[in-house]
């Protein structure tokens, strides 16, 4: 019966980023999302003695994270529109797809964070700041060819890590 500290630590370390990404989809605020993830894990920890043998603790954590996120949105209603809230509430909370999406996101984040510094910078400027290759080359004082090479290297790495193969 129950979850021992070592098992819990592994659960926490393997899933914290993904659970945060999952909460972030609801609250759109990474600091709040981190707090919610902490609270979700805390609830699991507090219930560790009562968790039956063989239960899916990861799914339980996501379910709690989902509920906490919904509560958070409700409590901060003035900042979000009713329609959006209804959409969120009607979603199936522990649908496999949501969890898979969060885990995929965490894997992407992890891959990006392990890219060589230059490739990472160029990639983020391109994909998240939506800058053109021309603008990136100008800002970093490198040629467009160099920017292309970094993007190509970054995408290759992502394909390899996420899709399991390089084309």
């Amino acid at each position: 019966m129950g979850i021992d500290t070592k098992t819990f630590e592994t659960l926490f370390k393997q899933n914290f980023v993904a659970v945060t990404a999952y909460c972030n989809k609801y609250v759109r605020d990474t600091e709040e999302a981190k707090d919610l993830a902490h609270r979700a894990f805390m609830k699991v920890w507090e219930k560790r003695e009562a968790v039956p043998e063989g239960s899916n603790v990861k799914a339980l954590t996501y379910r709690i994270a989902h509920n906490l996120s919904i509560n958070y949105i409700r409590d901060h209603k003035k900042f979000c529109d009713e329609e959006e809230l209804q959409t969120v509430e009607s979603e199936n909370s522990d649908a496999d797809n949501d969890i898979k999406a969060a885990e995929l996101e965490a894997a992407v984040i992890d891959t990006i964070n392990h890219m060589p510094e230059k490739s990472k910078k160029v990639f983020l400027m391109s994909r998240y700041d939506q800058l053109s290759y021309n603008d990136i080359a100008g800002q970093l004082g490198v040629s467009i060819k160099t920017v292309e090479a970094h993007i190509s290297a970054a995408l290759k790495l992502l394909r390899k890590k996420i899709f399991g193969s390089a084309p």
Partner: protein, 279 residues
């Protein structure tokens, strides 16, 4: 198939650059999971006095029994800062841990220290502020100071105010330690007081260095305590080269640039981040 569009959009990947070990340390502290492993905690004491405390290379596994209002801070890879009481600030050096117990009932505030910390303690005549290492108890009399427990010795270096130290071996007390005084408590309990002419020993906190005709070998060792980097010497000539100068709150790159100019040497960073010092 064009994979470019298959990559899911993430709101801001940079915000999700999460240090899982750090979050786990936070979680453990909040959940009260104790384990003599890698913690990350910080505490800083603010007062009419500042004190730096440095404690041993190895963390001792203290058993902290539940006490009134206890908080723990751990610094593992990097130094951290913590505020306790209202404005007491504690800078905790790497590989160090403090456990603070606020006992209002008898008007005491106690810090158990393993490793090194710099204290800036708020002035409060209604309570006694003490710091315990394995070997000594430091009582704050409105002061700033550094306490270091290392290699079996505890060293207390006072930068302002007035400190009193009691060793645990025979309860001997030495009081009235003021600016520039350094007390060393040796293994076994023997204590001696000496004058320090610079505060390089606590530069990990202050980042002020004063070198007077010292070898590069000695200098790099001291800089390492503040900046946490790896380095190696190309040859003995460089190792024995001597330098006089002061550095005030500079980043390590500019410190190295000055040393390069002064000694006509090169200091370059390898692919693995270590610094090579050579001609």
């Amino acid at each position: 198939m064009n994979h470019d569009n298959d990559i899911p959009y993430i709101s801001d990947v940079r915000m999700l650059d999460i240090d899982t070990d750090h979050e786990w340390a936070r979680f453990k502290a909040a959940a009260g999971i104790s384990e003599p492993k890698t913690f990350r905690l910080s505490t800083l004491w603010k007062a009419a006095a500042s004190i730096v405390l440095i404690a041993g290379a190895s963390l001792l596994a203290y058993n902290h029994l539940a006490a009134p209002a206890t908080e723990t801070h751990v610094a593992s890879q990097e130094a951290i800062e913590a505020t306790v009481e209202t404005s007491t600030q504690i800078s905790l050096n790497r590989n160090s841990r403090i456990t603070c117990t606020d006992n209002r009932k008898n008007g005491t505030y106690n810090v158990q220290l393993e490793g090194e910390a710099y204290f800036d303690v708020e002035k409060n005549p209604d309570r006694t502020f003490t710091i315990d290492t394995k070997d000594v108890t430091v009582t704050v009399r409105g002061t700033s100071f550094d306490v270091c427990e290392a290699d079996g010795n505890t060293t207390v270096t006072v930068t302002s105010g007035n400190v009193e130290v009691t060793n645990h071996a025979d309860n001997q007390t030495i009081g009235n330690l003021t600016r520039g005084k350094q007390l060393v408590c040796h293994a076994g309990g023997k204590m001696e007081v000496r004058d320090v002419d610079n505060f390089n020993c606590i530069a990990w906190k202050l980042r002020n260095f004063e070198f007077n005709d010292q070898t590069l070998e000695e200098i790099m060792k001291q800089l390492q305590t503040a900046y946490n980097f790896q380095y190696n010497f190309a040859n003995d000539d460089v190792r024995k080269a001597k330098l006089t100068g002061t550095f005030d709150q500079q980043d390590i790159q500019s410190v190295f640039t000055v040393i390069e100019e002064a000694l006509d040497i090169t200091i370059t960073q390898d692919a693995d981040g270590a610094w090579s010092i050579g001609k």
